[in-house]
Symmetry: D2
Subunit: 319 residues, 4 copies
Amino acid sequence: MKRIGVMTSGGDAPGMNAAVRAVARRAMSQGLEVYGIDYGYAGLVAGDIFKMERSDVGDIINRGGTMLYSARYPEFAQVEGQLKGIEQLKKFDIDALVVIGGDGSYHGALRLTEHGYNTIGLPGTIDNDIPYTDFTIGFDTAVNTVVESIDKIRDTAASHERTFVVEVMGRGAGDIALWAGVAGGADEIIVPEKEFDIAKIAENIQALRARGKKHTIIVLAEGVMHADEFMTQLKAYGDFDARSTVLGHVQRGGSPSARDRVLASKMGAYAVDLLLQGKGGIAIGTENNQLTYHPVTELFDQKHQPDLSLYEINKSLAK
Amino acid sequence: MKRIGVMTSGGDAPGMNAAVRAVARRAMSQGLEVYGIDYGYAGLVAGDIFKMERSDVGDIINRGGTMLYSARYPEFAQVEGQLKGIEQLKKFDIDALVVIGGDGSYHGALRLTEHGYNTIGLPGTIDNDIPYTDFTIGFDTAVNTVVESIDKIRDTAASHERTFVVEVMGRGAGDIALWAGVAGGADEIIVPEKEFDIAKIAENIQALRARGKKHTIIVLAEGVMHADEFMTQLKAYGDFDARSTVLGHVQRGGSPSARDRVLASKMGAYAVDLLLQGKGGIAIGTENNQLTYHPVTELFDQKHQPDLSLYEINKSLAK
Amino acid sequence: MKRIGVMTSGGDAPGMNAAVRAVARRAMSQGLEVYGIDYGYAGLVAGDIFKMERSDVGDIINRGGTMLYSARYPEFAQVEGQLKGIEQLKKFDIDALVVIGGDGSYHGALRLTEHGYNTIGLPGTIDNDIPYTDFTIGFDTAVNTVVESIDKIRDTAASHERTFVVEVMGRGAGDIALWAGVAGGADEIIVPEKEFDIAKIAENIQALRARGKKHTIIVLAEGVMHADEFMTQLKAYGDFDARSTVLGHVQRGGSPSARDRVLASKMGAYAVDLLLQGKGGIAIGTENNQLTYHPVTELFDQKHQPDLSLYEINKSLAK
Amino acid sequence: MKRIGVMTSGGDAPGMNAAVRAVARRAMSQGLEVYGIDYGYAGLVAGDIFKMERSDVGDIINRGGTMLYSARYPEFAQVEGQLKGIEQLKKFDIDALVVIGGDGSYHGALRLTEHGYNTIGLPGTIDNDIPYTDFTIGFDTAVNTVVESIDKIRDTAASHERTFVVEVMGRGAGDIALWAGVAGGADEIIVPEKEFDIAKIAENIQALRARGKKHTIIVLAEGVMHADEFMTQLKAYGDFDARSTVLGHVQRGGSPSARDRVLASKMGAYAVDLLLQGKGGIAIGTENNQLTYHPVTELFDQKHQPDLSLYEINKSLAK
């Protein structure tokens, strides 16, 4: 193996650049050449490929987004798209690949491996919704961004004795809501993985008010419903001087947290080591604080589970 | 004069606590007693009033929100409400007042002065929409919060080559949009004080794309229209892979910026000095980098004007 | 068991307040009364003890430092001091205790347990130097603070092509240096757990310069030597336009990161649960992403080991 | 005039990139070509000069440091150096220049103007020590960085009841200390422009302690003396459990504040407009919230004065 490629795919996440840097630098330190592929699978097919130098990844460890750009490219599910990608890999003499992205990106990784190009997936997404990894690259930063926002909202909520519904990202997963809810001192956390009863929530808000609490903060995972709909349902039970806020795309950006940079650095280096061992068709994770890997096929059968102990803990701490 | 009262009124703003601290500490250093009035005019009428000690305002200069809470209380426009307030001032032997809030709060200040209780208004609002002051307390912090959000959104916008419409606060005024637009490197700034042509904006986005620019950021003042409506209008001209974000209440919170803390400290101290000179029915401002004051009646006739030179500068810098 | 006490001891760390809140709220939710002990063991002996209400721990989850204050109190190593502390516990009818602090605090916890007052230690220190826990409360925040500082220093280092030696905290442990070094993209990380050769470091700086790198950043753990001494040694090999910075006490403060708040919340709740099970003389940890506990006596025989894989990874990524 | 050059000189400051962007974009929008000169006067002499495109200044408005690098180059005081610089300007057909830097940079600007190349200086320094401008580019960011550090130090100071001496930058000027001291709620601010009596400071600390204040924070401008020396002098009067912190080079870095970005944008655009009007040998300032300019020769006779009203205000607020 002489040349590897690296790309980012799917939604961008803070720490993707740190992962690209780690892949590139580790590979170069092992005597490999590294090619960057812009715009994920779309760029692979189109041949948006360039030789990376050490300095290309200098001063990017602290940058949000992805220097390799990203794109969604469903066409890569078709054999035709895959063959075009293979053609480009041949043209550039790339022997193996690292793909940083969500689990959607892993299907492509599997296809390329089947075609003889070992490809390893790194979990890069703020949503933390990937099986066989406790944390994804970008999750810690997104949680911190949400917590900082909740801290700010608490200022105004406390000053005006209001109820705030804060809608956070996570696609179908409640991880961001759970972590940010506990860390933000939320009174209620509403996630797809747990049923909720809006009448009880309304009751709880009233109880908190009766007890003299100055504000109520409800963290709502986007996978449950939109904040507006939640507000409509809540207002059936009372006014609560409620406001809603949809944190939106700020959650995807920002300089990565230390944790995300370290995780990305470790995973990126590990991916190169595994490629050098001839591995492919696998996805890297961190489980119980150790780097692990699994065949991506196993991930397709698994459903990610958030740490629901956080939900229970918050019940007792919020009261 | 032996005792003064201090309250916050209207929407909360970062730096209100710094202003409360400045009023309290300056007054105490001049031998006055200070009473805090919770919940603005509502609390005045209800008698939510307490004697402040030095330590009550310790370690609050860096806190967002307002330790005196705030409330909107339109009933104070009625003579009945005013008389109840006067009764409380008598009861607590308070001779004069400082009110920190938006221009809505100034009407109450005028009424109290007319009843014989000199009252001075400090401009505390993130919106910067008060006449006879270049800056209000809270504005600088809000602009920085918006700019940090734009920086994060730019990460993801650049990674995906998207157009982002970022709706920012400001009520009827475009100040936050103008400052944050210039500081955030926005491609378009849309404010109530300037007409805009959505067809030309669409054209401009296309031109930027054609030139190879990776992202387009449009800062929209809430006083113009809601982001959703803007998106609908924009999409009539093309898709632009556009997303919208409504920054919402995070703009009101957060630890105040250095600028806001210094402004609040200066204005708070100045208000006490003016009360000691027997002044009342006035509002404090900062004009051309100097502390000034004007009768609040003059403010009612004036309309605040944002610094529109920022609009023109941005035209040439964004291209 | 009806009443528990909670205190913070030793150097303060971000997240101590989140831990105090978790202990207090969890205990109250289990029907216990909670007493706060100010100033650690010194306050215990002096009787600086007060009944905590729910609201006492409201809005502290986001605050740095410790609302219970802290103090070093070596006198508690003497039986006399311990007996005075026991007297206070009797006086206030406190049945058991949670102590949040460094491993110095654990000796006191053991003594109190031996006297019949079950006491559980939580690892609260930025240094991460406690055995049987992968992470301590405060470590993640401190690392992020250091990384943000390195990011700022890199701005100026790159602008002027300089070498920067950044001295970070950690007492005898290299954890902060290792994590912040990897996350900050340091060229060299110097920790007590690894030998270093200043001649080789000088050589490496020259090689980086020759290759065109604009700046060199060296992260130095305080446990190795003082930055000034390091500078003196380095300058024997060349000028390198080197500057040093001692980050100092900013590393102890600041609003805790999401990770630290969640860790503190989990550990605080767990401590109460274990007290209710009649446990004492133990310290809580997080190992392989699971909450664990060990007799504090075991900790005294163990030496904490940092994650030295970070050192090796950085070698290949920095080049 | 067809071509202008732009460079940064002296110590770097946050907002220099925003100023470079504004100069480049404004000039291009006026049909001018723009050349970037790397490494200040040293690069001018060496011919480190390149044609800038629009995209060269894309996504730099939010970056600290300077993309054009900087260097001190005392040799430019000699005619020989100046003539070499002129030669390069001829070679690249550059007609006029903008130099962003401290007042040291202005001497070079004057020389180039005298040689027939109109050169305009922009005040880019964190120190705020330039005459005829109320604020320099970078000052607001540096003050905010210091204030955030003081906020963190206050956490730990309050937890341990300590005295902290925080040494801040500013070269010979007390501006950073004054602004950050007021905004940080310092108990004492020590600046070169005001005499101080260490015995009285010690007395004041003791009085604050006696009154029950949990911590004392002293902000010391580097222009007065080094923190270590101050500590030695202070300790002659008592222990005060004092610690010192030298904030160091973090003060020079970081993403610029909104205020600095706006100031840099306005000044950069204004410089181009003035060059187009045939002006040279001048320095731009902001006075009483208006853009102004003065012959640089006038600046050499003037001494910058900080806003000493801040010193007086702090006296009454700190108590």
